[in-house]
Symmetry: C2
DNA sequence: TGTACATCAGTGAACGCGCGTTCACTGATGTAC
DNA sequence: TGTACATCAGTGAACGCGCGTTCACTGATGTAC
């Protein structure tokens, strides 16, 4: 890991890391290849030894995000143990924890506006992380009486939408800035009410 | 409305309109003062007769969005008639309709990352549109037994979060691109399940 | 109705800047002998 | 262990570009008389 000297040693990852920091505080469109290079201690031209260009660098940041994301969610889901319900709720909390702890990744993944097909590697990673979400929804949906069971992909979409909305509106600075509740509590309560609506939680408190 | 000749006639609004179109397809950070001016048929310097600068122009676009938004939501809520529930659901649909029909406004309001205090006018308009949402939630929450009633601001936050999430993830191009359901249906079903969880809808289908 | 004039909306040129990308190059590294 | 050499990661200068903002100006408009 010799970072000193003429050759950087691990420039590719250093560039991704610098990009993530920049994306975190300027947004994906405010991110600049030149600045990422500078923060990695390198000339902008050096970036082209490792990436095709600006977009390719963002795509790699997003790809790494999907990998981390899928791992975290998968671990939280824990194969559906100790119960489908508990596993599902843990997955919801893991979602928010990821958004909080990896804001640069989160933004690169969901706010960069780059096509999921920007690179094949990105597409594969995104597909994997979506699959983890849907698997959790499927496991849980087996506990719903078949006649009132929505398609698992629908209710994973609901939970995803609510989670994403909480992140965007209440877990960041603007614009619902003076968030009336801690985002974690807000999301947990929301998911609880939603699951009660599906008959997965008892109707009383 | 004399648009020909040396003096434009209504340049201020023409600039806002041009900005909205640009924001719609390039995002708020991709938006450019120079390009807005060009599309309005005017030199970039002319913008400074009407706005303090780039940020002020975006803030005005967001302000107008909040005005339209509050009007639409207020009209859909219709004073809580014919029933608190019906009015609430109509408000939810109006949210999505607004995001669909005024994407530039929506982005300027919720994705521009500009502080709600960018201008006093913007702050006032944003406060008004939030108040409309909370009023609808309050009216509905009166139908919930007090002991299981969440704070109205909490459940308006839940609905807002789910609506925003659906807009961002499923009503646009990326990244949940191949949306499995029409966003309208997805949101309506999600809100329905949520309200059932609050005991506001009968538990059976 | 006609003329003089003040107003002020928009012009056009200029500024300094940072961007993404290209190119010929250089010199540190690691391998072959 | 020592030397020759191929590789290739990173340099630094240059490119053309569009950005936001400023400035002195110009000329269309509308009012006063």
């Amino acid at each position: 890991m010799g970072k000193r000297g003429y050759h950087h040693g691990n420039l590719r990852q250093a560039l991704v890391d610098a990009a993530l920091v920049l994306i975190e505080d300027k947004g994906p469109t405010g991110f600049t290849l030149s600045e990422a290079a500078k923060n990695a201690g390198v000339t902008p031209a050096a970036v082209y030894r490792h990436f095709e260009g600006r977009e390719d660098l963002i795509a790699e940041a997003a790809r790494q995000g999907h990998e981390i994301f899928a791992d975290l969610m998968d671990h939280a889901f824990n194969g559906g143990n100790p119960s489908a319900l508990a596993a599902f709720e843990a997955t919801g909390r893991a979602y928010l924890a990821f958004a909080r702890q990896h804001p640069g990744h989160y933004m690169a993944m969901f706010e960069s506006g780059l096509s999921a097909n920007a690179s094949p590697e990105l597409a594969a990673a995104a597909a994997r992380s979506r699959a983890v979400l849907e698997r959790a929804a499927e496991a849980l949906s087996e506990h719903i009486p078949p006649e009132k069971r929505p398609p698992p992909s629908m209710f994973s979409a609901h939970i995803w939408a609510m989670s994403h909305g909480v992140v965007e509106l209440f877990a960041r600075g603007a614009p619902g800035s003076q968030s009336p509740f801690p985002p974690e509590d807000l999301l947990e309560a929301g998911i609880g009410i939603y699951l009660r609506g599906l008959g997965l939680l008892p109707p009383d408190q």
